[in-house]
């Protein structure tokens, strides 16, 4: 269920990003520290989900720059960049002219990159658009971080030999006559990890 929620957040994020800017497509990459790569997690629009699962080096391209620096960016005139189009069009069939990208960040740590391809920017201007996209990324990241925290808590509770299960078993076996000691233990735990 948690994996589904994770995917739902990402799918909703890219769909909202695409619709917000009447864009041809939007996509999100998340950083995979085991592969040192940005992994294409979800997309909306032209070529939807054709590249899901594809990994690109985290030190290459616009996405790599945004991931390394945490800086949002808008670049116009990409359609004449043969190197970019050859790689990207091979996967999606889309030849974008404008790329807008912003980091997906939590507590100063870049977790990935949200990109919008061919956004309609004339009505609001490039940087107002960046403001909006950055907030979309922030909202998505906040939801993802809550999900990750919830997943960690859930794992702690369900793990048979985990600390939560061990503590519950201990308290279940506790002699009712030692209730005061149990309360002292809980107070001490709250102080220690609360």
């Amino acid at each position: 269920m948690l994996a589904t929620a994770h995917d739902e957040i990402l799918r909703s994020t890219v769909r909202l990003a695409r619709l917000s800017f009447s864009a041809a497509a939007a996509s999100v990459f998340l950083y995979d520290p085991e592969r040192d790569a940005l992994v294409f997690e979800a997309s909306s629009g032209v070529g939807e989900d054709q590249l899901v699962g594809v990994a690109i080096p985290a030190d290459r391209g616009i996405a790599g720059w945004v991931a390394n620096t945490g800086e949002p960016i808008v670049i116009r005139g990409v359609s004449d960049d043969a190197r970019f189009n050859r790689d990207f069009a091979a996967g999606t069939g889309l030849l974008p002219d404008i790329i807008m990208a912003t980091p997906v960040e939590h507590a100063g740590e870049v977790l990935g990159v949200l990109e919008v391809l061919d956004p309609q920017l004339d009505a609001i201007g490039d940087m107002a658009a960046i403001d909006l996209l950055t907030e979309l990324a922030n909202q998505s990241c906040a939801a993802l971080s809550l999900l990750i925290a919830d997943r960690r808590m859930h794992a702690n509770r369900t793990e048979v030999d985990g600390p939560v299960a061990q503590l519950a078993a201990l308290l279940d076996r506790a002699d009712p006559a030692r209730e005061a000691a149990v309360r002292d233990l809980i107070t001490a735990l709250v102080k220690l990890v609360g």
Binding site: P57, I62, A67, T69, E71, I73, G77, D81, M127
Partner: protein, 287 residues
């Protein structure tokens, strides 16, 4: 209506000439008249540079930060620009100081956890090499690196290495641009690469052209980009001109000269006819 809204951009505030300690006006002719940056060594810490681009060309040397078992090192690099950003900055510097000597250090790291170390390694090397000017169109938000970066920028300041550093495009705290030992740069949208604003409300020191800038891009073409990243090399280019004329100048002198030749100065008379300096309490969008 303002068409751009990223952080650390000009609000059009003016600065009174009485805030600049100069008994006589300092003109651009005196500051850099006719200079092209000849002989001035400029280091670009960025994504690499496409040295074959016609708008970059000239005297350009390229290095990259590499991660080895013993730690991070600086190695000669032939990979060029892996993202485009560094070539854009190099082209802007060349447009203002065509005869300066460019050295690029590529700092993009595949391991994102290590990119702060890559930045520090590059900056330490640039300081050791004694480049009089370093273009730093990036920053880090990692608090654990703050102290090391602070010490490093102080060392640069004392050594005569001027770090020209871009303010973040988002309203966040990042480094090194917030340290007073560097020249920090935000954006204005006046379509003039030599138009410079002095900010009466730091931490951003100056605003330069950073909106809808046509820049060189790897492969020989160009793109249109916006961001404080691209305002910064405009200031570097102007500093390179100043250093050709006044090679003994260091960071404080460069800041002073840039403020003295800035385009948003007003005299007491100007204020009396409507330029209300006191009504412009902030010179940039807040961080």
């Amino acid at each position: 209506m303002r068409a751009f809204r990223f952080a650390h951009t000009s609000l059009g505030a003016t600065i009174p000439v009485t805030a600049i300690p100069a008994p006589e006006p300092i003109g651009r002719d005196w500051a850099w008249g006719g200079a092209t940056g000849r002989g001035v060594r400029v280091c670009i810490v960025d994504s690499g540079v496409d040295a074959s681009h016609p708008l970059v060309g000239g005297h350009t040397t390229t290095y990259a930060v590499a991660e080895a078992e013993a730690g991070w090192t600086i190695e000669p690099d032939e990979a060029g620009d892996v993202a485009g950003h560094g070539t854009a900055c190099a082209g802007i510097i060349r447009s203002l100081a065509p005869d300066c000597e460019l050295t690029s250090i590529r700092v993009l790291a595949r391991n994102l956890r290590g990119n702060g170390d890559a930045l520090l390694t590059a900056l330490e090397w640039a300081v050791e090499q004694g480049f009089p000017l370093v273009n730093v169109s990036l920053s880090t938000r990692r608090e654990p690196l703050k102290e090391r970066l602070h010490d490093l920028t102080d060392r640069a300041f004392f050594r005569g290495v001027t770090l020209v550093s871009a303010a973040h495009n988002s309203p966040v705290v990042s480094y090194p641009w917030r340290f007073p030992s560097v020249i920090s740069v935000g954006s204005h949208e006046v379509e003039d690469g030599e138009y410079l604003e002095s900010n009466p409300s730091p931490p951003v020191d100056f605003f330069a052209l950073g909106v809808n800038v046509r820049v060189a891009w790897p492969g020989g073409g160009s793109k249109i980009v916006s961001g404080n990243s691209f305002a910064t090399p405009h200031v570097v280019g102007l500093c390179a001109r100043v250093l050709e004329r006044h090679p003994e100048f260091r960071t404080p002198q460069l800041k002073h000269v840039l403020a003295a030749v800035s385009n948003n100065q007003v005299t007491t008379t100007d204020q009396a006819v409507g330029a209300d300096v006191t009504a412009a309490p902030t010179g940039s969008r807040p961080c």
